[in-house]
Structures are given as C-alpha cells and as structure tokens.
C-alpha cells in the first residue's frame, strides 16, 4: 500500500462521518439515520435518472455515428442535448393503459420489480474510495442475488399481459437469463478467488498494485470476455435481445405496456447496461482504482491525482461503448443458438477458467 495519499485525499468517508456527527448533535440517532437514508435514497434515484438520460443520449449518438447519421441535433440547442428530457416529459404524461383480461396486480407490479432489481445492484457500485452506498462483506454475492429479481419482473410482465407475444418474449428471457447467470457466477467467482474477498470495496482495494485483468493475466482476460458476453445477455441487449426482438415479437415482453410503465423497462435496460459494465470494471479493471503498475512509482503517483470517481465513470463508459459497438454491429442470435452458446461453450469454458485460476492462485503464478 504505497503512495496512497491521494487516494485518501479524495476519500469522502470523513465527510460522511462529519455529517453524521453534526446531525447527531441536534437530533436523536433514529431521526439522523432516517434523514440520511432519505437523502441517500433520493440521491440514488436522481443519479439513476440522470445516468439513464446520459446513456440513452449516448446510445443514440453512438448508433447514429455507426450508421452514417447525425442523430438528434435539433431539440434543445446544439447536438440535441434536450432530446432525451423531451422524451422523458412525453412519457411521463402518457396514458397508462390497463388491459382487459390481464392480471392487474402482477401487471402493475412487474415494472417495479425490474426497476427495483436494477436499483439494488446500482447501489452496490463502488464509485470512489468511501463512496459506496451499500457495503457488506458479501457484496458481490448480493449483486448476483439482487440482479436475479429482474428476471422475475420480466416473467411476470410477460405472463400477466395475457398476450402471446409477451409470453414468448418472457419465456425466452427467462431461459436465457437463468442460463447466463451460471457463466456470470463462475467468472465472478474466478475474480473473487483472485482477490480473496467478496466485499466489493476490498476487491477494488486488492487491485491497488495492478488491475485484476493484468494480475490474473490469461485466465482473467478470458474471464473478462466471458463476463462481457454473459453480462450482455443478462442485460437483454443485442445480439442477445431475444426477449424484445423487435423484428420478431414487436416489443417482446413489454409489448402491452404503455406510458411510464414502459418507461421503467426502458430505463432499466440502459441502467442494466451501466451496471453490467460497472461490475465488469470493478472486477477486472480496478473499479475506481487508478491505473497502477508496480515499479513505476512516478507514473502511479500522477495517476493518483485523478479522482477515483472519474476513473470509475470513464472506465465504465468505455465498457458501455464497447457493448454498444457490439450491439450495433451484430445480428441477433436465435434462441437455440443462445442456449447452445451458453451450455456447450461458455459454461464449460468458465469452469475451466475457474480451475486454471485456482491453480494460478495456489501456486502463485499471478503477476
């Protein structure tokens, strides 16, 4: 743990403690914690919404570039910066349709489940040193568990809408996400093995000498690729967007949703993309940890001047861009190919990676 001074400089743990103590001096503890909880909750929701707007705008611009277009550039000044806020305003004031023949309760519950799962995982992301919202010693395990709630929402949405397209989309999504969670779990386990901890902050801290993708060299790179493929599938994005499959199932599991209910699915899709990338960054690319190489102390010190949050966000957006690139290039897979890919190739491969990683860690063949 050398030259960590600047990492500590950007640490907001002290600030948190100071605020907490200031509140305690004027009110009882339960009220202070309640107020803090409310503030943090509000912060998450605002951050969530802002990030969604940024991501949607980014996707539109990125895909427009790939497609030799300009993309939004008229609404709200230069570059169409206000295009997505306009969409949000529109969707907020749009009618929410209730269907005859649907299961009302489940139909209304489903979008909230999807967004809930997404917010849970979102709160686990390590933004900076000391700036995590949920911290527990089995953090990464919690992420895996919480993200599984999302598929429940998708299945309920498909089932309760009482439509054939939605049920096909939901069943597809169920089969796919449950399969790919295996690969995600195994690759995450690989990295837990390398870091020796399940606590997300400690996983990041363990990369202060060098990022995991360099430390774990070959098996880590392979695990990174497997994780990206599986994570892409988990986020229901192309070429694994079978659950929506616009050209086949009109809009898949959310065909019958309108207004803000549909907006929730839409937001969750983009945030899941961000979360997938965020977890990938945490596990493989050092989270908020600046780029460090052992021996290059001067270089490491310079890197430390850049705050961790900038490292985290920029690395995450880089991975997001990578996933967008894949989405706008590849055609969609077919359901049997998706399952074949997972069960015949990715799962055995990730087991193998886990094995190799174990051997590497046991014999100390890591960098």
């Amino acid at each position: 743990m050398n030259n960590n001074s600047f990492l500590d400089y950007y640490n907001i743990q002290d600030l948190n403690t100071a605020i907490h103590e200031a509140l305690l001096s004027v009110m009882p503890q339960w009220l202070a914690i309640l107020l803090e909880g409310l503030a943090v909750g509000l912060l998450i929701i605002v951050l969530y919404a802002v990030l969604a707007i940024i991501l949607i705008y980014m996707e539109r611009k990125v895909c427009a570039r790939f497609q030799c277009r300009i993309g939004p550039n008229r609404v709200g000044g230069k570059g169409g910066l206000l295009q997505v806020p306009a969409d949000v305003l529109k969707i907020l004031t749009k009618e929410i349709i209730s269907l005859k023949g649907s299961d009302r309760f489940l139909y209304n519950l489903a979008p909230f489940l999807v967004i809930l799962a997404s917010i849970f995982t979102f709160s686990c992301l390590p933004w900076n040193k000391g700036a995590e919202i949920l911290r527990m010693n089995i953090g990464i395990f919690f992420v895996l568990a919480a993200s599984s709630i999302g598929v429940l929402g998708i299945l309920l949405a498909g089932w309760s809408s009482n439509s054939k397209y939605t049920i096909i989309g939901a069943v597809r999504s169920g089969a796919m996400i449950i399969s790919y969670e295996l690969s995600i779990g195994l690759t995450v386990l690989t990295m837990v093995l390398l870091s020796g901890t399940m606590d997300i902050q400690n996983i990041v801290m363990s990369q202060d000498r060098m990022w995991n993708i360099f430390r774990g060299h070959l098996p880590a790179v392979a695990a990174f690729i497997v994780y990206l493929i599986a994570g892409n599938a988990e986020a229901n994005r192309g070429p694994f967007d079978l659950a929506e499959a616009e050209q086949e199932l009109t809009a898949g599991y959310h065909t019958e949703y309108s207004g803000m209910h549909f907006g929730f699915f839409y937001l969750a899709e983009y945030l899941n993309l961000f979360i997938t990338s965020g977890i990938a960054v945490t596990l493989f690319l050092g989270g908020w940890m600046p780029l460090h190489f052992p021996g290059l102390d001067g270089f490491n010190a310079v890197m430390d001047y850049i705050p961790g949050v900038i490292w985290f966000v920029s690395k995450t957006f880089l991975v997001v861009f990578l996933l967008m690139w894949i989405r706008w290039t590849f055609p969609r897979l077919r359901i049997d190919q998706v399952l074949t890919l997972e069960w015949k190739y990715l799962m055995p491969l990730s087991l193998l990676i886990l094995l190799i990683m174990t051997v590497c860690v046991v014999f100390g063949i890591t960098l």
Partner: protein, 200 residues
C-alpha cells in the same frame, strides 16, 4: 384578436408554414376563456416535450412505407427532429403514420390499432390513397379516405410524398401539438372506454 401562440420549429419560422388558419383557430378557441400563467407555462413545457418526442407506430401498408424508411435512413435522418424511435407496439407509440392504401379488410385492423394506442395519440395520413383512395378510388375494396375510420390530424399528399413533404407534414403536427392544452384542457381526444360500449 391577436393570436399569442406563434410556434416556430427551430430554424423554421412561423410564416414559412403555409396553412396556419386552422391552428390559429385552434389557439383562439383555447384562449377564449384566458389561460393562467402557471398552468400555461407548464402546458408549454409538456407540449414542448410531446412535440419533440413523437414516436411513430410502424404501420406501412404499401409504397409510402418505403419512403418512410428512406426518411429514417442516413440522408434524411428523421432522428434529428425527435422522431428517432419507431415503436412496433401501438401501446408505446404516439402517432400512427398511415403509410399506404387502407382496404376494406384492413380498415377494422387500423381502427383497432388506433384504439390500442395510449393517449395522447395523433394520426398522420400519408399519400393519396389514405387521403381519398387516390388512384384506387373506384375500387370495390379500398376505403376512400381514412378519415372515415379514424380522426386525422395531418394530411401529407403525394404518391408517394417526397421525404421533404413528410417533414413538412410532421413539423405541422409538431406545431399543432405545441398549441394544445394539457392542463385544464382536454388531454384525451377520445372518450374513455368505460363511457363507450365495452370494447377491447
């Protein structure tokens, strides 16, 4: 009486649109009882959002649909103006561009799609066939004008219209939305289903 709401589309001035009388009449009707400042400005904000985020339902029946695809493609790129997304599910669409002839067999389907859409919803009739039956007016199986089936907001004539004409029509729709009233006015264009006979 002076009309207050003169809505311009960015870089296209009010006077550049040729047929404004109808919209001016609409503004006069809406402002007859006066409009509150707060409600009015919230209205403007919402209408700004709505008019700049018109997601259309993909509903191409014939030739005009290909021109609509050209409109979405690189040269004309309608994403620039907020028409980025086309939704295939009527629940999520804001407007239905009727692209091509509507026949007797298709008419109930069109009506049903319109009924399935969430409010507020708009209809744009594109091409001669949808406006009047066009070259197929005398046929035994063609609806002579979709206004017999659904209320139409904007007509875009042509066979098929040029992409520029599409733009003119779609911007005319944007301007129309910008002078509507959301709060204190009518948000629904149709009666609520429970006020009508039970219908899907």
């Amino acid at each position: 009486m002076e009309v207050k709401k003169k809505t311009a589309i960015r870089s296209m001035q009010y006077d550049e649109f040729k047929n404004n009388d109808y919209l001016e009449q609409m503004v006069r009707d809406l402002n007859r009882d006066g409009a509150g400042i707060i409600l009015g400005s919230v209205d403007d904000l919402i209408n700004w959002g709505r008019s700049n985020s018109l997601w259309s339902l993909t509903f191409g029946t014939s030739c005009c649909a290909i021109e609509f695809m050209a409109l979405g493609a690189a040269r004309y790129d309608m994403a620039r103006f907020g028409f980025e997304v086309t939704r295939n599910s009527p629940r999520q669409a804001d407007m239905i561009m009727v692209l091509g002839t509507i026949t007797h067999k298709m008419a109930p389907v069109l009506r049903r799609l319109y009924d399935q859409m969430a409010e507020p919803k708009y209809v744009v009739a594109v091409g001669g066939c949808t406006i009047s039956g066009g070259p197929f007016r005398k046929s035994y199986h063609v609806v002579n004008g979709i206004d017999q089936i659904v209320p139409v907001d904007v007509y875009i004539p042509g066979c098929p219209p040029r992409p520029e004409a599409f733009y003119y029509g779609m911007m005319q729709l944007q301007r129309k939305i910008k002078v509507q009233k959301f709060l204190g006015g009518v948000n629904r264009q149709e009666k609520k289903p429970k006020d009508m006979d039970s219908n899907d």
